[in-house]
Amino acid sequence: MITIKSLQFKYSKSNNFIFKGTSVCIPEKSFIALLAPNGVGKTTLVKILTKQISNYTGEVKIHDEDLRNIKYNIYDVVSILTTDMKTPKFLTVAESIKFSLEAFDNYTEEKLNELIALFDLEEHRNKKISQLSSGLERRTELAQTLSNQSDLVILDEPCNALDYNSVVDTLKVIKKIKDLNKTIIYSTHQFSEVESLYTHCITIKDNKLSLVSREDINDDLHKYYSSVYKLGV
């Protein structure tokens, strides 16, 4: 699904490498917990995977296609949720999801209703985004994220800045996305968020990515991340 070979990258204004000759292969239909403390390179990796950064050396492939050679829009094959994009507050839930579906040429009234139902947004469909709680707003953003129906979903710290109840709510929805058999990369520094969801973990340490499957997860790593934050889903 995603192959990263000898990836090397540093920001132009910095002397320190974020990634230094690292390789990893992300299997299809896996739920990847991308775990690392803040500032280590999670968002940088997400930016590389969505072509926001392309001045790296090495090779990054999605569906066996080198990202740098892809001519079509990357968002046709990657669904992404990041905390730095906000749905315009004046739109309603239904309008914002419809906008997303139309942007990806997927709009039918049935698909709109399907997404609204999948994310339990029926009673909120005509509410403005500004009237929603942060958890409901995130749910709406997740519904928009799924509107392009791609196989790869990247969630960059989706529970960031949410209160406890909203985190629980959001994780329930993410569980539903997992059940759709998509490849999901969930970036977080809080292991407890993904503890019950992940099939593989990618950690970033010493500028290297390392992938470990759930079966092979190291007890020490488990304890380390579990100790940061604990949350039941």
Partner: protein, 254 residues
């Protein structure tokens, strides 16, 4: 085309749902009142075509000031509310955003300016005897509409190039005054730079038709009439190209 339609829908929703439409309504009512009251300041010898000339000049020269709050904020708004990431995630390109705003706001405000001119001309029918030919009236109406595209395009360009609202609105005011100074010093050159000033070729033509105001352009001939219509459109297109090429999204919006 689909993306452009979506973006135009988005801008319409923005105007309606954020109640910006009320602000615009306020601007246009104020402009309409100004257009009606301003000619009344003149002496009693004033006639219908002079009134229309005055209305056209008021709209061309002062509409920009009223629209600062919306148009100079147009791209800063994206940064402030993080809309730009939302757009890009939806496969909307920077060119789409700039193009849609040029199309939408030019059509909207040109039509509103045209309607304002027509409304004023209807109101004054009850006060003065109509003494203007249909073609002269039509010419002034088209001139108002095309000059509005200059003002709107200039403001959108400034908003696309300058990082924040205070700077972009400040820059617009600065350009407005600078054009006035250039026109004052070298009216022959300045008159062709912008319709925003009283000594522009547009004002010269209006003065020639209506007999109101002063003509700073040495000789008004058929070419002046043509240039007065064409220049705002040419400038508006240049502003559009500059916005596409040098907008702040390309230079990193943050």
């Amino acid at each position: 085309m689909n993306r452009l339609k979506k973006l135009i829908w988005f801008e319409s929703m923005f105007l309606i749902k954020t109640k910006t439409i009320i602000y615009l309504l306020g601007v246009f009512i104020t402009m309409l009142v100004l257009s009606i009251v301003f000619p009344m300041n003149f002496n009693s010898d004033i006639d219908y075509k002079m009134v229309l000339g005055s209305v056209a000049s008021v709209i061309i020269q002062f509409l920009g000031i009223g629209l600062i709050g919306l148009l100079c904020n147009l791209f800063y708004r994206d940064k402030k509310f993080s809309y730009h990431y939302w757009f890009i995630k939806h496969k909307i390109t920077i060119t789409d955003i700039v193009r849609s705003r040029f199309i939408f706001y030019n059509i909207l405000f040109s039509l509103l300016a045209g309607l304002m001119f027509i409304a004023s001309s209807i109101i004054f029918i009850f006060m003065y005897e109509v003494n203007i030919s249909f073609y002269s009236y039509l010419y002034m109406l088209v001139l108002v509409i095309l000059s509005t595209t200059y003002v709107v395009s200039l403001m959108i360009m400034i908003s696309a190039l300058v990082v924040d609202f205070v700077s972009s609105s400040g820059l617009f005011i600065l350009i407005w005054f600078t054009i006035g100074i250039i026109n004052g010093v070298t009216p022959y050159l300045g008159g062709y730079l912008s319709p925003l000033d009283a000594s522009s070729v547009q004002s010269g033509v209006i003065s020639e038709i209506s007999g109101i105001g002063s003509n700073f352009i040495a000789e008004i001939d058929i070419y002046s009439y043509l240039l007065a219509l064409l220049l705002p459109v040419i400038y508006a297109f240049v502003f559009y190209l500059i916005s596409i090429k040098f907008n702040k999204y390309k230079r990193g919006i943050n």
